[in-house]
């Protein structure tokens, strides 16, 4: 019946009250991790072996 349908529609409408839950931590935006780095280049520069490192153009002198 009409009044019943109307009441049901109103009830249904009142159910569509949103919960803030929709926006929960799922879409939280985190900052990136930082990884520690080691480098072959730095290590050899420190040992003053730049010549060995940078003079390689393929073949090495025996």
């Amino acid at each position: 019946s009409q009044p019943l349908a109307g009441r049901q529609a109103a009830e249904l409408q009142s159910k569509v009250v949103p919960s803030k839950q929709i926006l929960h931590s799922d879409n939280m935006e985190m900052e990136p991790e930082t990884m520690e780095t080691k480098s072959v280049t730095e290590y050899f520069s420190k040992l003053h072996m730049g010549s060995l490192v940078y003079s390689c153009t393929g073949k090495r002198k025996g």
Binding site: A9, L12, P18, K20, Q21, N27, M28, E31, L52
Partner: protein
């Protein structure tokens, strides 16, 4: 000489990784390991970089393997700084793999050695890592339940509290060091930790700092992240207008950065925010935009969410035909992706709509018996679908206001 060729390969790997081509870099590092070297310090650096390259490639099992090799080697040659770095990297990798207890041990080792060596930079970085591990640990346990941010079991609260303390300690040092980039990272994650703890005002303050630093650096991705996080915090402060402003900026930047997935997320957030503001036309507009991108990206989960949201918004407007259409689509997609909770929610919505539309009562009664099953399952412990999957939080909308605290 073998030495040089191992070195050459490693140097090329290093160059490639620096240039951002980790995949190619990995090949050269792997080749360098194959050739081998007598110099253990060189080998340690190769292992470390292999571990990091695999980490950035999201191949965490491999990352773990190489960082572990690096740690063993650093200890063997008595390289304390090398051990600290390897421990930190191993800790970060274990965190991503969800092994929080071991991650804490490794990150703590990174911290202890850095302090022993009076290495302030290393100490700060270790504190940030520890904060991240505790944050992940807290979030991980929290996500198993369903509750608003701020309503937490004790173990979750403890972990998040610890995370906040580590971020604060990190901030003290990096502020002394004048390292703005590090401050930005710490503020962002501290803000997210406060958000989960339910300290929304503190979250806003931290994210505002993060935003400031992002602008200083012209880092638009970080700026976008801050807007999005600010929007989330303002939702829980009940300031929906302000939240919508921040989400709009998120959307603007997402479009500038040409990131469709992030654009979709921003539209979804805006749709939900306008629903909270009871401006259903705008909500529908944004949910339709979200739906279009979800379909474009073949994101079935997102598509299901969009249909569910659209069904609700049309129901609120009293447009039951459209509501019906989207509820049916929601049911179809939920079945397709095997989302049991979504399926139950969709059935409930459909039976409600059918009742309003005065459809055949024979369908109704069968539907209602389904609803009884659904209703009882909502009150028990629900199995959790994977992250971003389930409609678990949305089912709350099916309950009556009296049953739900924090209803608004």
């Amino acid at each position: 000489r073998m030495e040089a060729s191992c070195l050459e390969l490693a140097l090329e790997g290093e160059r490639l990784c620096k240039a951002g081509d980790c995949r190619a870099g990995v090949s050269f590092f792997e080749a360098a390991v194959q050739v081998g070297t007598e110099d253990l310090k060189t080998l340690s650096a190769i292992y470390s970089q292999l571990g990091n390259a695999y980490f950035y490639l999201h191949e965490y099992a491999k990352a773990l393997e190489y960082h572990h090799h690096d740690l063993t080697l650093a200890r063997t040659i008595g390289d304390l700084l090398g051990e600290a770095k390897a421990s930190g990297n191993l800790g970060n990798t274990l965190k991503v793999l969800g092994n929080f207890e071991e991650a804490i041990v490794c990150c703590q080792r990174h911290l202890d050695i850095s302090r022993e060596l009076s290495d302030k930079v290393g100490e700060a970085r270790a504190l940030y890592n520890l904060g991240n591990v505790y944050h992940s640990k807290g979030k991980n346990v929290a996500s198993a339940g369903t509750h608003d941010p701020g309503e937490l079991p004790d173990d979750v609260k403890d972990a998040l509290q610890k995370a906040a303390e580590y971020y604060e300690e990190n901030l003290t040092i990096v502020t002394e060091l004048g390292d703005r980039a590090a401050q930005g990272r710490a503020f962002g994650n501290l803000g997210n930790t406060h958000y989960l703890l339910g300290n929304f005002r503190s979250a806003v303050l931290a994210h505002e700092q993060r935003l400031l630093i992002a602008k200083e650096f012209g880092d638009r991705s970080a700026e976008r992240r801050a807007y999005s996080n600010l929007g989330n915090a303002y939702i829980f402060l009940g300031e929906f207008e302000t939240a919508s402003e921040y989400y709009k900026r998120t959307l603007q930047l997402a479009r500038q950065l040409k990131d469709r997935a992030v654009e979709a997320q921003a539209c979804y957030s805006l749709g939900n925010t306008y629903t909270l503001l009871q401006d259903y036309e705008k909500a529908i507009d944004y949910h339709l935009k979200h739906l279009a991108i979800a379909q474009e990206l073949r994101d079935k989960i997102g598509e299901g969410r969009a249909c569910w949201s659209l069904g609700n918004a049309y129901t609120a407007l009293g447009n039951h035909d459209q509501a019906m259409h989207f509820a049916e689509k929601h049911l179809e997609i939920s079945r397709e992706v095997g989302d049991r909770n979504g399926e139950l929610t969709a059935r409930l919505n459909l039976s409600d709509l059918q009742m309003v539309l005065g459809l055949s009562y024979s369908t109704n009664t069968s539907m209602m018996s389904e609803s009884q099953v659904a209703e009882s399952s909502l009150n028990g412990a629900r199995p959790r679908a994977g992250r971003r999957h389930s409609m678990e939080n949305m089912e709350l909308m099916k309950l009556t206001p009296e049953k739900v605290p924090n209803w608004n």
